[in-house]
Symmetry: C2
DNA sequence: GATTTTTTCGACTGTCAGTCGATTTTTCTA
DNA sequence: TAGAAAAATCGACTGACAGTCGAAAAAATC
């Protein structure tokens, strides 16, 4: 019961690496088992299908990517900083650049889409909670918080993930974030500093 | 030079129907040629690959879907009505419901994503032009119009395409559309009537 | 040490995208 | 209009790939 766990972890790790570097569609089960040095039957002893492997790889990634977010959630920060902090923690930085790169490649559409949906699912409740705090404190003035948070995530994903964002895009992002949450103009200006 | 064109059209039409009803991934070239009653070689005489077929099918769909939009663009309507009219013309209605249905199915992620991107590419310039009119007329007050329009499209796609939208979502959409474009509160209230 | 359970193996199957040389049909030209 | 050239069609074949299965090896249990 220990050996098996370890083997599965190893397989997941290999799949993870390969899915990112070559794309999910361009990675064959044969590729994975060759790298792992095991037989086909063994692979299918641990996974129902290639797609289920992807699902589990994505679970791993979501865990990783939301870890920083969860920490910020519990930190002692002003509400606006918390929200923006969480959102920007979702963008892989530094050592995770290859992930970003890979996800943007067209051959990874499916993976990208799946991750985005799962990320939204996971993060909307977290952010909604913080945003509620914000309205309680009178910093924000808005209703339908989860919908608005969802929109905020969609926008930031599009603006920041799809290619290097321009100054104009940051301006719009700041503007729309404030208005989306009903915050005073200037509340989100600190984002500009954060970018660099 | 006439026969060939017609055959290609026929193939595109069959592919279009099949991609929508069973999903791109679940439609094999063999399925298409069987339905068309031709041999494999003939298919590949007209198409480089299955993916290129998809690309051309999407071209067809974009043409179709933006036709109504182009008409509204030239109609004599107030700017806000024009913008909302164009956006809602992109959502297939009535007889096109199956398309919507098919596109939401997870096995059509790739198609959905490709169509969305192409749609945005095509429609942003159209809408940006109208929005510019709006600011010229003093109805809207905003800069960076193309970015804002892009965001507007993203939001409407998410809110209206992903499942049946609620009243709350409409409220938020109206609110955010007004604020995104810098319009007076109430400018977009007419959307509520339009929905039904 | 025997028996049961877990893990591993790899040959095999069926499906599918795409190729290619041969053949038929259409169009052009002398 | 015969005969050459071009366009269109055919289908058997290839190679890649996901997934299956029964048998063997390894580990755990008694």
């Amino acid at each position: 019961m220990k050996k098996g766990e370890k083997r599965k972890l190893k397989l997941l790790e290999i799949a993870y690496r390969m899915f990112l570097s070559r794309g999910y569609e361009n990675t064959s089960v044969d590729d994975i088992i060759e790298e792992a040095g095991i037989a086909k039957g063994t692979y299918y002893y641990y996974f129902e299908s290639k797609e289920q492997t992807l699902e589990e790889v994505i679970d791993m990634m979501i865990d990783q990517e939301t870890e920083a977010a969860r920490k910020i959630l519990q930190a002692d920060l002003p509400v606006p900083q918390k929200i923006v902090g969480i959102i920007s923690s979702l963008r892989p930085s530094q050592e995770e650049l290859p992930i970003q790169d890979a996800l943007m490649h067209p051959e990874n559409t499916i993976m990208h889409e799946k991750i985005l949906n799962r990320l939204i699912e996971t993060v909307v409740p977290m952010l909604a909670e913080v945003a509620q705090e914000g309205t309680d404190q009178g910093i924000f003035h808005c209703d339908h918080i989860p919908i608005r948070i969802r929109i905020l995530l969609l926008i930031s994903n599009d603006l920041f993930n799809h290619g290097n964002f321009t100054g104009d895009e940051i301006d719009v992002f700041i503007d729309i974030t404030e208005k989306l949450l009903g915050a005073e103009k200037g509340t989100m200006d600190f984002i500009r500093e954060l970018i660099r």
